[in-house]
């Protein structure tokens, strides 16, 4: 077994967690506020949009398979690469602040009520730093272990909530206007563009079965959409749309209800761990990418990595105490990343077209020379 390679399943699990970050960054509440009970359909429509985007972006994965997205940017935009890297640093930095703030307040509110927010943030970032330092291969391998843990917690949630399901709460369906359906589907869609970018950090060549790279990402997206759909369905059918709209994390209210035979109760803190997993991998990959981007601009020696990571974390904590990033800002950032990904895709297409024209011209010249000789 090659230790420097990853399997298809490992990549699937990582992309699953990245796409599942929707439950954490945007969340069920925002979606339900937009489209009431029809938000269940929004996930389905949104995931179709995402699959379309995925097929559109396939060209990026196939281009220079040894390189990750940063290397590809260097090849495609040799003149403007510094500007693009700076823009990405800004986007990643602010999104990281948003994500870290979200997860820290979540832990503080639901799990460690007595612990100070700063202590939680520092502890979380220490764990994130430890994972980042292990490198991208270890991050992907860790996601596989966490996937089984997540699945176990999810099955417990389903078993514990079955008795509370009330399908009447899902009614009425198909009542929202096309505009509302599109808006909420786009909300789901636009929350998940960063994961597409972060996956491209892993070069195709790292995979044992290179051909199945796209298949792994697509599977991760499908599994995540299914989990989001089930989670939303369970939440609305138990709480009803009115209650779902008022709780920031309605899943937690559902978890509070779970008890097995009146013996196993108060499981919400344990089940809340699944939400932490949803956010952990996106934070880890963002930090890793941010560091990699900084390395592109400022050459950092391998021995000085600890210092650079620590400085980055300190800067994040400091900026996090000063800045509050609203949710709409997070969505705008995702849309900027979408623009960048589309630009890269376009550039690859133009490059391919030019190459084909060049090959055509060369073969024409070759043919011409042969004809003259003849």
């Amino acid at each position: 077994m090659n230790k420097n390679k990853i399997t298809v399943f490992e990549l699937t699990t990582l992309s699953f967690f990245l796409f599942n970050s929707f439950l954490f960054t945007t969340g069920i509440q925002n979606l339900t506020k937009q489209n009431n009970t029809d938000s269940i359909l929004s996930i389905l429509i949104g995931s179709l949009f995402l699959l379309l985007l995925f097929h559109l972006l396939k060209g990026i994965y196939q281009f220079h398979q040894q390189q990750n997205i940063l290397g590809k940017i260097e090849i495609l935009f040799p003149k403007t690469k510094t500007f693009i890297f700076l823009l990405l640093i800004l986007l990643l930095f602010t999104t990281l602040i948003y994500s870290i703030h979200q997860i820290s307040t979540y832990i503080n509110y639901y799990i460690l009520k007595e612990t100070k927010l700063l202590v939680i943030t520092v502890t979380l970032l220490l764990s994130v730093l430890y994972i980042c330092k292990k490198g991208i291969i270890s991050i992907v391998k860790l996601s596989e272990i966490c996937f089984f843990l997540y699945l176990f917690l999810f099955i417990i949630t389903i078993l514990g909530t079955l008795k509370y399901l009330n399908l009447e709460n899902i009614k009425p369906l198909l009542t929202s206007s096309i505009e509302d359906n599109v808006k909420s589907s786009l909300l789901y869609f636009s929350s998940l563009i960063f994961p597409f970018f972060l996956i491209t950090i892993i070069p195709k060549a790292v995979l044992i079965q290179k051909k199945k790279y796209e298949q792994a990402i697509s599977k991760g997206l499908k599994y995540s959409s299914l989990i989001c759909f089930i989670e939303l369905f369970i939440t609305i059918s138990i709480l009803g749309v009115q209650l779902t709209k008022i709780y920031v994390y309605p899943e937690m209210t559902v978890y509070k209800k779970i008890s097995f035979l009146n013996i196993l109760e108060h499981l919400e803190t344990t089940l809340a761990f699944s939400q932490i997993l949803n956010s952990l991998f996106i934070i880890v990959l963002m930090l890793w990418s941010l560091h990699a981007l900084l390395e592109k601009l400022i050459p950092i020696k391998k021995e000085k990595e600890n210092i650079s990571y620590s400085l980055l974390l300190l800067l994040l904590i400091f900026a996090g105490t000063l800045l509050t990033i609203p949710h709409y800002y997070f969505l705008i950032e995702n849309l900027i990343v979408l623009g960048l990904l589309l630009l890269i895709r376009l550039k690859i297409s133009i490059r391919k077209y030019n190459q084909q024209v060049l090959i055509g011209k060369q073969s024409l010249i070759h043919f011409d020379l042969k004809y003259k000789k003849f």
């Binding site: 009520k113 612990t115 220490l126 009542t175 009803g240 209650l243 008022i246 209210t253």
Partner: protein, 327 residues
């Protein structure tokens, strides 16, 4: 290696409650909470499970009360008398007064929603008597909850409502019901309090509460005009503005009389509240769920409702009488 140990130890220290922990004996586990609003002040009553360290102290619960301009202030004032941290996660019952409902219901709801310590699955009742009497008569939350559960199963005069159901009903159309208790030497069930637009709208007597429970399919066992009902099932279906109510009951005698009297009583209750513009069964919302296109087209759905009640009584077999007849 040293770095790894340092990271692990620091994570363990920070996340395993080594920092700012609370001893179990320092927690004032609250089982019942009472809220009132008098002279522009909140009054909070709380029953806390007492320490059992001291064998001489045989009190199971201790009661505290405090006032404050806000609910938070009132809670803070309880700490002046009590050295324990009030722990609300195990709260079983919330008792609220008419004055609180009429003046500060939304404030109370906001307080419960913003405080994550409440589990929101506690029972909620309204009291017609003074809170002080209830809390200083050493009546526990368990006793009141049992009283409600037993009456729900045996007499059909009440039903338990938890905070989440209450909140959901309020959010749908600003109306809901709450079981009511009163004190006369001991605790009594007193039907339901009807709430509309964050105010007490009306009260349902125990007799009307039975009818209401018939309509909401909450009757397990009851007595209606001297006829014992052993089992009951109510199904409500909506077809545009036609509300079809089908009641199947197992009774001990006089099916014709039961059929006639129950139908009259139920129709009377439904039309009375329809005229009063109070949607007792949340039928507007049911129509919104089941027939959305009709709901969109219609105006003033509540006034257009037509009730069709069908009652199917069956007599319960009395094996003892059959044996007697055979003899």
């Amino acid at each position: 290696m040293i770095k790894k140990i340092f990271v692990l130890v620091s994570i363990l220290l920070l996340t395993t409650s080594c920092n700012s922990y609370t001893e179990l004996s320092d927690l004032g586990i609250t089982s019942m909470l009472g809220l009132d609003y008098q002279n522009e002040e909140f009054i909070v009553y709380t029953t806390i499970i007492a320490d059992r360290d001291n064998e001489e102290n045989k009190e199971k619960y201790k009661t505290y009360h405090a006032t404050g301009k806000t609910l938070e202030e009132a809670f803070e004032n309880i700490y002046i008398q009590n050295s324990k941290k009030i722990y609300l996660s195990h709260m079983n019952l919330l008792v609220i007064t008419e004055d609180l409902i009429n003046n500060q219901l939304t404030t109370m709801i906001k307080h419960f929603l913003s405080n994550n310590e409440y589990r929101n699955n506690f029972q909620i009742v309204t009291i017609k008597s003074k809170l002080e009497e209830l809390f200083y008569q050493e009546i526990t939350a368990e006793e009141i909850n049992k009283l409600i559960t037993i009456n729900m199963e045996e007499s059909g005069t009440t039903r338990s409502i938890d905070f989440e159901t209450f909140l959901k009903d309020i959010l749908i159309d600003h109306n809901t019901i709450l079981p009511t208790i009163k004190l006369e030497n001991s605790v009594f069930i007193e039907g339901f309090a009807l709430i509309k637009n964050n105010q007490i709208y009306d009260f349902l007597s125990n007799e009307d509460a039975i009818l209401y429970n018939y309509l909401t399919n909450e009757i397990k066992k009851t007595t209606f005009q001297g006829i014992t009902v052993y089992e009951n099932e109510t199904i409500i279906t909506t077809k545009k503005n036609n509300i079809e109510i089908s009641i199947t009951s197992t009774i001990n005698k006089q099916p014709e009389l039961y059929q006639k009297e129950l139908k009259t009583a139920l129709l009377n209750l439904l039309t009375t509240y329809q005229q009063k513009q109070y949607d007792l069964l949340k039928l507007e919302y049911k129509i919104y769920q089941n027939d959305y296109s009709y709901y969109q087209k219609s105006q003033d759905v509540l006034n257009q409702l037509k009730f069709h009640i069908k009652i199917h009584p069956t007599i319960k077999n009395n094996y003892l009488e059959e044996v007697n007849t055979n003899e």
